[in-house]
């Protein structure tokens, strides 16, 4: 009974320790090779242009390194210039708190051979400078490796996305109509009042 209890407690403590040990970016190895179609400095239009991605395992690493890889998730990540003065895009080593990559491109099961994917830049992607990063996740969904299209300092091979403005001609016209209605009805009521006051005197 006592040993059973001890076992349960120690298992529980080790589980706790396992989950509280947060994954950090610096602990990940760059074992994936990721390429993206945009050239450095190219400007893509949100909602119209495509990005073609290709990823595979870097064969220079020892075989068996990918034994824990179950899923690959590919993300669109902000380059440092688009993070400047914008704390909500900050890079933090602890992955759970990291806000560098906020736009998921695709999530696919892991295969060691070359995989490609074409993605149309979504309409809700903001206008900024980006690179692409792929994370390898284990069966628990925790990041175990990564690959990215830029260098370690995130300075090379960056591309831009030109976002939609969100404005529409119909909205502009509606705005103008309602504004005009507001002013005209105000003046209308005002002069009606004045006329009523004059006629009643």
């Amino acid at each position: 009974m006592a040993t059973n209890a001890c076992l349960v407690v120690s298992l529980w403590i080790s589980c706790l320790l396992a989950t509280t040990h947060a994954a950090t970016f610096s602990s990940l190895q760059r074992t994936l090779v990721l390429t993206a179609s945009p050239q450095a400095g190219q400007v893509l239009k949100a909602g119209e242009d495509n990005i073609t991605l290709a990823w595979s395992l870097n064969t220079t690493f020892a075989s068996g390194i990918d034994s824990t890889y179950k899923t690959i998730t590919v993300e669109l990540c902000y380059a440092p210039i688009s993070q400047k003065d914008r704390g909500w895009r900050k890079t933090v080593d602890e992955l759970a708190k990291d806000k560098t990559c906020q736009h998921n491109i695709v999530k696919k099961p892991y295969t060691s051979s070359n995989t490609t994917f074409t993605w149309t830049v979504r309409k809700d992607v903001p206008g900024a400078t980006y690179f692409v990063r792929a994370y390898a996740l284990d069966s628990a969904g925790k990041e175990v490796a990564f690959g990215q299209t830029t260098d370690a300092h995130k300075t090379t091979n960056l591309f831009e996305v030109e976002a939609i403005t969100g404005r529409h001609v119909s909205l502009d016209i509606a705005s103008a109509c309602f504004s005009a209605f507001s002013i005209v009805s105000l003046l209308g009521f005002f002069f009606m009042d004045k006329r009523k006051a004059k006629s009643s005197k």
């Binding site: 976002a163 939609i164 404005r167 705005s175 504004s179 507001s182 009521f189």
Partner: protein, 527 residues
């Protein structure tokens, strides 16, 4: 109190909500009822209502109340409508932290000036036109939000929408034409609190509208623009309702009001002088800047803070942020009540201590909010912070009526402007640069609240004392209030209303014996 129509500052009477008043009605012997008038509520000789019947829409008195506070509420909704949507807007317009901070400053700065102009407009055109003109002329500025495509445009539009907060002045002025001065305190206090709630309601309304519009198929960057049409329509609807259903006076006659207004019984110059040279005025300007001011600043940053720091969905961040502003429903009246209650036992000293305690409590919990790492703790601290800050707003206007009788209106107006100025300054210092994260900004704001509340210890009334010093035996209430008039003005008898007020204000001595004989022909000590 000086119930002279059109005298400088009379439009602000009752805004404090804590003047010696009978809460919801005033009985006949005190103010005689005009029995010939056919109104839903009992009225006095000027046909102003003697009773405040909250759940009635009776024309003209209660209808005016509801039209008035809802217009003010609508303007609060549109001024702070952008705040809960900032996480979407900042991506659409590629804003930096300083852009967002500057827009927040701009949203509260415009009304510093527009409130001053609105006073004059109400005097010239009447409160009905003042309210309707402002609400309907600011509707285009709300619609302009959907056209914005750059940081500069965003800041400019928020600045223009902010002008609409001057409906506060028209709201209070209009009600002073409709309600007897003995109940105007409660009426105006309720209207001010309920109007301020708009800053909380908008944090709920806008994310909800945004979600609904997105579900109908819009992209995020279009959905937020469409969401702004709703506050714009509210402006138009309220403007039309005010124009068609509202009237300036109980009898509906605007020109009569203007005739009376010509006979200003006091000189604006002297009223302003006595307001500006009373050091207590400036202490309360500072204090209100750190109770109302921090409330406005927090309205602007809190939703974004919860969205970013705790990774909440937009509408959940909005719900939490809304509880901050909605606390005004009860917290602000509570502050006034606490001030009155402490005055019963400890007089003015009680009022000052109550104010200091409430505002410092708000500051402490603002600091703790910045430090809170977990969501439940942050929400709990935010709620206590909101109660502290908003109750302090109510308690501030528990003391202001006693600072001056002659210049009450101007001092109330200056304090109100101080609130907006404090908000602009705080947002500029702590929430506009990447030097401080928002949590650090909240911490520093909390520290600044605590420091800027300390000057209340310097407020000394010679007839009642201060937080630490006892009253001076030689000075009575009459001395203090008559000191605001020169010898010639006293001889003209201009100070009579102040004398009446001084007699009523003896309650501020607390539990001690209330009556003290006024020495005749005594030279008032100007303090």
């Amino acid at each position: 109190m000086a119930g002279i129509e059109g005298s400088p500052g009379s439009s602000m009477h009752g805004v404090t909500g804590r003047e010696p008043v009978h809460a919801f009605s005033v009985a006949s012997p005190i103010v005689p009822t005009d029995t010939t008038a056919k109104f839903d509520l009992p009225v006095d000789s000027e046909h102003k209502a003697k009773k405040f019947k909250l759940f009635s829409l009776a024309n003209p008195h209660m209808r005016t109340f509801h039209l008035s506070w809802i217009s003010f509420f609508t303007c609060f909704v549109s001024t702070f409508a952008a705040a809960p949507l900032v996480p979407i807007i900042r991506d659409n317009l590629n804003l930096t932290k300083s852009d967002i901070g500057n827009a927040g400053v701009a949203s509260v700065s415009g009304s510093i000036f527009s409130r001053l102009v609105m006073g004059a407009v109400c005097d010239l055109l009447g409160p009905r036109y003042g309210c309707a003109f402002l609400v309907m002329l600011s509707a285009p500025t709300v619609f302009c939000m959907s056209l914005v495509s750059s940081a500069g445009g965003y800041v400019a539009v928020r600045f223009m929408i902010g002008f609409s907060l001057a409906t506060f002045v028209s709201c209070q002025y209009w009600m002073s034409t409709m309600f007897n001065s003995k109940i105007i305190g409660t009426v105006n206090g309720t209207a001010a609190g309920w109007g301020n709630m708009g800053g909380g309601a908008t944090q709920l309304i806008m994310p909800l509208l945004y979600d609904i519009i997105k579900k109908t198929g819009s992209t995020p960057f279009t959905a937020w623009r469409i969401a702004f049409f709703i506050p714009g329509w509210l402006h138009i609807i309220m403007g039309i309702l005010v124009m068609t259903l509202g009237q300036d006076l109980p009898d509906g006659n605007l020109s009569a009001l203007q005739k009376k207004g010509e006979v200003a019984k006091d000189q604006f110059g002297r009223v302003l002088w006595y307001a500006v040279t009373n050091y207590r005025t400036w202490i309360f300007v500072l204090l209100y800047g750190y109770s109302m001011g921090v409330e406005l600043s927090t309205d602007n940053v809190i939703a974004e803070y919860f969205y970013d720091r705790f990774d909440l969905k937009l509408h959940l961040a909005g719900i939490i942020a809304a509880t901050f502003g909605m606390a005004n429903l009860l917290a602000r009246p509570f502050g006034g009540f606490a001030s009155d209650y402490s005055a019963r036992y400890f007089g003015m000293r009680g009022r000052l201590w109550t104010l200091w305690i409430l505002q410092t409590l708000g500051g402490v919990f603002c600091l703790l909010l910045g430090r809170a790492d977990s969501l439940p703790l942050a929400v709990a601290f935010m709620i206590i912070f909101s109660i502290g800050a908003q109750a302090a707003c109510g308690a501030t206007f528990g003391v202001i009526p006693f600072v001056s009788r002659r210049s009450l209106g101007v001092i109330s107006g200056l304090a109100g402007a101080g609130g907006n100025f404090g908000s602009g300054l705080t947002q500029l210092l702590f929430f506009s640069t990447s030097k401080y994260t928002t949590e650090m900004g909240l911490e520093y704001m909390g520290i600044m609240i605590i420091c800027c509340t300390l000057p209340v210890m310097l407020v000394h009334f010679p007839q009642w004392g201060s937080m630490f010093l006892p009253p001076s035996k030689k000075v009575s209430e009459e001395h203090y209030y008559t000191a605001e008039y020169t010898e010639e003005e006293v001889q003209k008898g201009m100070h009579h209303n102040s004398l009446k007020f001084a007699e009523n204000s003896r309650s501020e001595r607390g539990n001690r014996i209330a009556s003290a004989p006024t020495p005749p022909n005594a030279t008032p000590n100007y303090v």
